[in-house]
Symmetry: D2
Subunit: 364 residues, 4 copies
């Protein structure tokens, strides 16, 4: 496929630009018979939506999703589901300057050399706005995985710029604009306020998990479950690192410590993050991602123009000072989409497999 | 594709098991007309080969590659290239015990639940031995990319267990069994000796780079260049983390620091690792991976048997006490395969694109 | 991919149902920089449009295409192009009877067993209305192939039911509602009138060609150019046969007659239809397809209900008495899409190939 | 995929050349746990093997298949199955003349323009010898489909050159070298003898069927079951036409005649060949293919040399005077591979679907 599709059996094809008439996606391969309406999708879109706090971009987008196909009388029919989100707040402005220069840290330079043309309006195709259709598709996958396996997908922020965030409990996540798993976010707010004042931006680290994962998902070589998770996560705007389980900490671990022992009472630990040999063990999936600081900042920086001459650029407009803040629902959606793909793929090849061995992860 | 193929336009399909008659791969999509013989492939296989120092498994495999198809009178014909490596040192032994239990940290448990059958001989399909065909295919990609663009792929170890390894220069890498970029590896040797004595294992961190990367490779959404690199790397046995450029360090960076400024003298820095918005900037690709400690250790560990009853397992046989030691050529190969795929894909869509803007990465 | 996508490098993902809010497609992989507007697409949609003569369905659809993405300031950007066509004339009616029975010759029975749910409104996903997005995508491919290679795609009807149609010249095709290449279509009109009076339907045979085809398109085994053409054509509603070149007539030919001799003045004949060994020879592509009689007829027929009990069904509503009549532009579009895919694929693998041998097809 | 792979979930990647060291394929996606040995595959290879009668090429190839991977203790493991067939009878000869000219009707000219290099030894990659791995893979699919659904695949010749062959019964097929379904093949033998004496060749028409087909296989648009069958069949060497059910005869049929009525006693007819709307109806699949006359004939013919100058070519060596004679087992294999792909795909998406409607095809 030509680059804008995620998955094969549950294939999500993404289209649109930040300031075009609409963005959206087509989901091909959704199992038939599932109850589905916009109300199942909208809550996750609302969690990702801009303009919900002073720490994110003030662009006002309702992000209302419309189901154009694939659903009849409230149920999926097994045919392609087209989800459409109209862009409504595309401020008109002069893009001449943006088109003449390249913003450091931005996709501008690569797009220009690749395509020889670029849509400067709000970043065009490179805008993080294009994660909205991913979130919408992820909501469909989440629903099916929940109904079929009882799976739950959750995410939270574990570090904001230089500030590590303590994990106090999932219950705190919905109550603050950072998706932080702690009660007091005043330090985070102060940090963001000072950044915004300085015209600068920062990165973030997120954690995403899935529970009640079926055991046996993933292919032995190349298309492993962890490989596909890494692909999906690193395919998200601004992500520069992906970890499964203990991730980079495993480098300094000993084998005698790292190996998670299965026991009759469940696995004794989960250093592997729920995946061994590329295949799910049935334990919770544990994924971490690093998100770089937003490239669009008010601070002037050196760059070049279209002809290679030196110039200085300064980004204006509405931007998230930390793109990681709104990324939690996106990372959850990506994890759900990968699991969905492998759940369907597993049925294709292994639907007849039966073993007597208990699923010890369910006991843990 | 059904999981064992990497790439679409330069598609590498991997087959074989550790102790079956042979392992190998089929490369579909190699451009025609390139001089190719086993001598182009063998050096990288030799770098990965077991038995070359006391710090790796003592299995004696010549890993001689045979080209079965796709080459006529020394040149690639554009048709599928089958590369075959016969297994020669498959020691016969009793696998009954392995089949009755699950080794912690191993793929056993997932394979069993997924397939309902597993090949216990040396890990079967889950063995790191299956990376040899990947290395062979990577050598073909490396050759084409070198001839076409002058690209070079290099890798080294940057941490062995708890020991960080200083980067003193690429010239040291070929002279020691660790692919360490430093002159003195005595501390690394002592560390490995003590580990082996303790019947334990450790992890490693590797760095891989590519130079003279064409600008403009990668697709905007989902199949970004970094996403496909992450997929390939995380698909390598025992990898638990992938970073592009500054990776997880970007979390604490400010936007004003992170953004790499293009200047008429080249890019001023390379925090992004050569990829912006999923598309290569022409700068060097910089990738880091975390490899977990080997799961096969002599230390007894708790586990369960096929019926879920508690048991104790102790791995015997020949194993690498740090699978990261031999992984450098594999990681290089994977990076080359991903770049090759995107180089071909780029020609498909964008062969007609021409821009006047200089390629500033070439000036850096 | 999950079934509703045609092509890989020029990938067209089709969505929608006959009476849903909209139908459309996403084209992923279109080369950047091409001028493109709705005006380039609309003419082919208009040729396929219902309601243009008394011999086709009287459903009144404007079939106005809207470009939702992938075009900036009138040029393709290399990112996904979403084409949307709103459905406007979806007559409301009671579908209870249709849902309780299976119409002979229709997709009903298979859809029901496959999906367990079906959209009865105008045939839902199985409606020939879903060929409109294919035509729209084909218009984009046609434009690129015309600008790049000077290619032209043409089609005509060669048989209507029992009536063979003489080929008098392409110039007649646009002037009659049958896409017939002859001046006098009064016999065809009389035939259709009598069919309609009888409440019956008939089949048709079409011919499609492409000129100025580049030599060298197609893959040796499996994904041959002719194989992909056959796939595309047989994937069109109601098609039951596909021929390349002399097709079924080759069975009774001798090798000494069939082989098309290349000569310095061009190929001496074109029995092969422009494809040898799965690869284009540069001669005109010649394809024929058989289209079965429309299944929706007024004549009552035996069938069963949902519970397997005998019943009689009689189709009402607006239907084409010969679906082949409007199929010519669709077949042209499919041929263009397949050629486009292979043209892009060829550049990926073989962009560097140069031979001195003249392209004799250009002399013919 | 890069052209040499058939299928996605049951993906067969074909490699090799007529006179290289070996030919073969890798099957990725075979369900685990099925008993499989070379003895399951060899019978179909033997049916296709050269040298079995005076009417086919006298090349002496044992075509012994070796299973290199994917099977452990006699059962498939769910990992890639590599099937290898060593070439043994590659006569050495001078290919200089072949390389300087283009044989009419052959792939030479297209290969040369596409790849800029060609392997002249026995046709290299374009040889019909490459259908042997397809037959081997098809045998694996047939076995699974037989065990799972009781499916049977059968084929026969229905026309040899100008001679139509009456269908007297399947029992005659194994008893003659033509796969003819009749008792007396003396006319066919005389026809072939006279052709051989004349140094000429002829075409053939074949019929392939599948019984006990599951209802509901195939995707609505583009990847329909019939589309994928057409793709597979037209991808077979020398095929120029494909029909499903009544094929081209449907053009002159009326809708009132063509539609197959489901009744409580089974379908009343099978004009559709078991596929409606791209989805299997559960009736027998009925496919016909047209195979052109062999291009390699002793008769001298006009052609050009590498520089475009006129020349005369005359093919020598061992060739089948009618390639259709050995094609029956290949066509069966291709049909089995397509059904296998769709059977696995169906489970992925629709494993949970249950309807009460009886499968009337099973009553027919």
């Amino acid at each position: 496929m030509s680059g804008n599709t995620l998955g094969n059996l549950f294939a999500v094809t993404n289209f649109g630009e930040s300031h075009g008439p609409a963005i959206g996606c087509v989901i091909d391969g959704c199992p038939p018979g599932m109850l589905l309406s916009a109300a199942d999708i909208q809550p996750d879109l609302d969690r990702r939506r801009p303009g919900t706090s002073r720490h994110v971009t003030q662009r006002a987008e309702a992000d209302q999703v419309e189901i154009l196909s694939g659903v009849y009388e409230g149920r999926t029919t097994g045919t392609p589901i087209c989800l459409l989100i109209r862009n409504t707040d595309q401020r008109s402005k002069d893009y001449g300057e943006i088109l003449q220069t390249f913003r450091p840290g931005h996709a501008d330079y690569g797009y220009w050399h690749k395509f020889g043309i670029r849509d400067p309006r709000g970043g065009g195709r490179s805008s993080a706005r294009l994660t909205a259709p991913t979130v919408a598709a992820g909501a469909v996958a989440k629903k099916w995985l929940k109904e079929k396996f009882g799976m739950e997908f959750r995410g939270c922020m574990t570090q904001l710029g230089e500030l590590p965030i303590p994990f106090e409990g999932w219950e705190h996540v919905p109550d603050n604009p950072f998706f932080a798993p702690c009660a007091d976010v005043s330090a985070l707010e102060a940090y963001m306020d000072s950044l915004r004042k300085a015209g600068d931006s920062c990165g973030a680290k997120l954690r995403v998990t899935a529970t009640r994962v079926p055991v046996g998902l993933g292919e032995p070589i190349y298309d492993r479950l962890d490989a596909d998770i890494a692909h999906a996560m690193m395919g998200l705007n601004a992500v520069k690192g992906v970890e499964i389980g203990d991730g980079f900490a495993t480098v300094a671990q000993k084998g005698s410590y790292h190996g998670d022992s299965p026991t009759p009472q469940g696995f004794a630990s989960n250093h592997a993050g729920g995946i061994l040999g590329g295949i799910s063990s049935g334990q919770d999936l544990e994924v971490s991602i690093a998100i770089k600081p937003t490239s669009s900042i008010m601070t002037p920086r050196d760059s070049i123009d279209l002809h290679g001459n030196p110039t200085v650029v300064q980004t204006k407009g509405r931007h998230d000072p930390c793109v990681g803040i709104r990324a939690t629902p996106i990372a959850e959606a990506l994890l759900a989409l990968v699991v969905m793909e492998h759940a369907l793929r597993h049925r294709a090849q292994c639907a007849d497999v039966q073993v007597d061995t208990p699923d010890v992860a369910r006991l843990g």
